[in-house]
């Protein structure tokens, strides 16, 4: 298989800022859309310049640290007190978080 370890799928050159904002549930004004669009465009151009570099002899990385397998043993640690947890929530009932009705699943 020609897939290279750590390689990144090709970036779209154009970004639909309104769509990205909607997906991230961020409300942007028209001015903000234009401003962020321009900023993200600069970032993409930078990424394109980096991708143009000859990297055939460079081992791809997926993480800045040369480490793998940071694990924890399968041991139970204390959980939080439920009253403290639910006290942070806008609404709770009978030990549950309570949220408005959901129309559709993921």
């Amino acid at each position: 298989m020609a897939r290279r370890w750590g390689s990144i799928p090709p970036m779209p050159v154009e970004i639909d800022i309104a769509k990205v904002a909607a997906l991230a549930r961020i409300a942007l004004s028209d001015e903000e859309l234009a401003a962020y669009g321009a900023q993200l465009g600069v970032i993409l151009e930078h990424a394109e310049r980096v991708q143009a570099l000859p990297t055939d002899d460079v081992e791809p990385t997926s993480h800045p640290l040369p480490l793998v397998n940071a694990f924890r043993p399968d041991e139970v640690r204390p959980s939080l007190d439920r009253d403290d947890v639910l006290a942070q929530a806008p609404d709770a009932v009978d030990g549950y978080f309570r949220v408005p009705q959901i129309l559709d699943g993921p």
């Binding site: 694990f71 399968d74 139970v76 959980s79 978080f97 309570r98 408005p100 959901i102």
Partner: protein, 486 residues
């Protein structure tokens, strides 16, 4: 069951989620316990409080490597965690830690047997992720559409979850069910999960499309959710195949959508369709390091593999059980173990297999218990089989003795003695009775001597009566013939 009309073919792929029963969650130390009160096994990591960082549970990674190995997968030396981004209240972080490119396992297979026809079902990938919280939709009828609010329990959020994706190699509802059953057996044999569909520790989603036989292009597929038993998966797929064929046969088009199986109505219905297409904006999880599963780890898992269900069935068949019986035995580790031990100790395989899948299972059902709770041992079976082989017990009497043993009345010999079922296998004792009977019926003896074998049956009956039915009729007949010089 054949629901697919002539000229049509269904193409089915199945995605299965399996919760791993580790002690602690995937990325934090909260306990994995589904009997708990809501929101009592939660912490900053699984509630996504600011600044909390995930650390992977090594036992969960080992669990997925075990599953991948059992499914004949390539275990990738390097794999990566990704963030799958979407908004839903049961997902505290607004992303699920999952895998995308570079899953832990790829390119596996399961062989299922439907009506004696083995089918290879390819496994595309097996990847590691975390479970979401549990939602309770409150309101009329508990249906999501009618709920006016939703309650959330995050005890399940962050429980290690393994997703197993098949190639679209499945063609019939029966194959789909057989696949689900075999996967469940494998996962249970590995001991990584109890894989209970009704409790959600194993969950199936099926992708289904239909096409005309002989065409290779795939039709538009739908995805079925909410099947919580193997039988409802089979029914839901059968319904969906029929529905799609009807749509196409009447000139309509199948819409790509997610459909919900309703157990009560026996139908699938479309869930509200999404306005925008799915866009999970996967990107590498920066809070987690890559996984590196080296050869040593892979070999260690390989060496620790238990005997898998297919291997067990093959061995039971080799030991003398027929395919069907082997399947029944293999479904219960206890029955398979008893069979194994008894046959190894010299008991006749067919007899023992028939007792275990017949009388033993029936007895457990009758008294309302499971076979695991019976006090039957391999020694009992060996002794009982030996008594039959030695002619001490008839086949019918052996079943009565077995019932006594199952009821806890003692070992086979003790039960047989108490119930007075032992046959007289001492030929001297039988010969004495035969001599008596022949003395009482000299005319019958004379007839036999002159070549008329008709009175033999009568004389055997007399001997059986005199011994209270405990003589071996075959042995009695032999002695009578010998005495008459025939």
């Amino acid at each position: 069951m054949s629901v697919i009309p002539e000229g049509w073919e269904a193409v089915i792929g199945i995605e299965t989620h399996v919760e791993l029963q580790t002690r602690s969650k995937m990325f934090c130390g909260c306990r994995v316990d589904f009997g708990d009160d809501p929101n009592t096994a939660v912490c900053p990591v699984c509630l996504a409080l600011p600044g909390a960082l995930p650390v992977a549970n090594e036992a969960a990674i080992d669990g997925i490597v075990r599953i991948g190995t059992a499914l004949d997968c390539t275990i990738n030396e390097r794999s990566l965690f990704y963030r799958k981004n979407y908004f839903y209240p049961d997902l505290p972080k607004n992303y699920q830690i999952s895998q995308y490119t570079y899953p832990v396992c790829e390119h596996g297979r399961i062989v299922v047997d439907v009506d004696g026809e083995p089918t290879v079902i390819g496994i595309t990938r097996v990847h590691m992720e975390e479970d979401t919280g549990k939602s309770l939709h409150m309101g009329e009828g508990g249906r999501i559409q009618d709920a006016d609010h939703t309650l959330l329990d995050f005890n399940r959020a962050g429980v290690p979850l393994v997703e197993i994706v098949t190639e679209p190699d499945i063609r019939t509802p029966d194959q789909a069910r057989a696949y689900g059953a075999e996967l469940q057996r494998i996962v249970r044999t590995l001991g990584v999960s109890d894989a209970r569909l009704e409790e959600g520790s194993m969950r199936f989603d099926a992708n289904i499309s239909v096409r005309r036989t002989g065409t290779s292009e795939l039709g538009t597929r739908t995805e079925i959710k909410n099947v919580n038993s193997l039988r409802s998966m089979q029914r839901a797929i059968a319904f969906e195949i029929e529905r799609q064929i009807e749509v196409l046969a009447t000139g309509g088009t199948v819409i790509q959508e997610t459909r919900h199986w309703n157990e009560t109505t026996g139908r699938t219905t479309a869930m509200r369709s999404k306005e925008e297409s799915e866009d999970y904006r996967y990107f590498q999880e920066p809070d987690l390091l890559p996984l590196f599963i080296d050869e040593q780890w892979r070999d260690r898992v390989k060496a620790s593999m238990p005997e898998l269900p297919a291997q067990l069935r093959a061995r039971l068949v080799a030991a003398g059980a027929d395919e069907r019986t082997a399947g029944l035995l293999a479904d219960s580790p206890l029955l398979a173990g008893l069979f194994d031990a008894a046959v190894r100790a010299g008991a006749e395989a067919k007899t023992v297999a028939s007792w275990l899948t017949g009388e033993v299972v029936a007895y457990a059902r009758r008294v309302g218990t499971t076979v695991d709770e019976l006090s039957l041992t391999a020694e009992h079976l060996v002794e009982l089989a030996a008594m039959v082989a030695e002619g001490e017990l008839s086949a019918t009497a052996a079943k009565q003795v077995l019932a006594g043993v199952l009821a806890g009345e003692g070992g086979p010999r003790q039960v047989a003695e108490t119930m007075d079922l032992l046959q007289i296998s001492d030929s001297g004792a039988i010969e004495a009775v035969v001599a008596d009977v022949l003395g009482e019926h000299p005319d019958a003896l004379e007839k036999i001597r002159s070549g008329d074998s008709k009175p033999i049956g009568f004389l055997v009956g007399q001997v059986m009566r005199a011994t209270g039915g405990k003589a071996d009729p075959k042995m009695v007949q032999e002695i009578i013939r010998r005495s008459a010089g025939r």
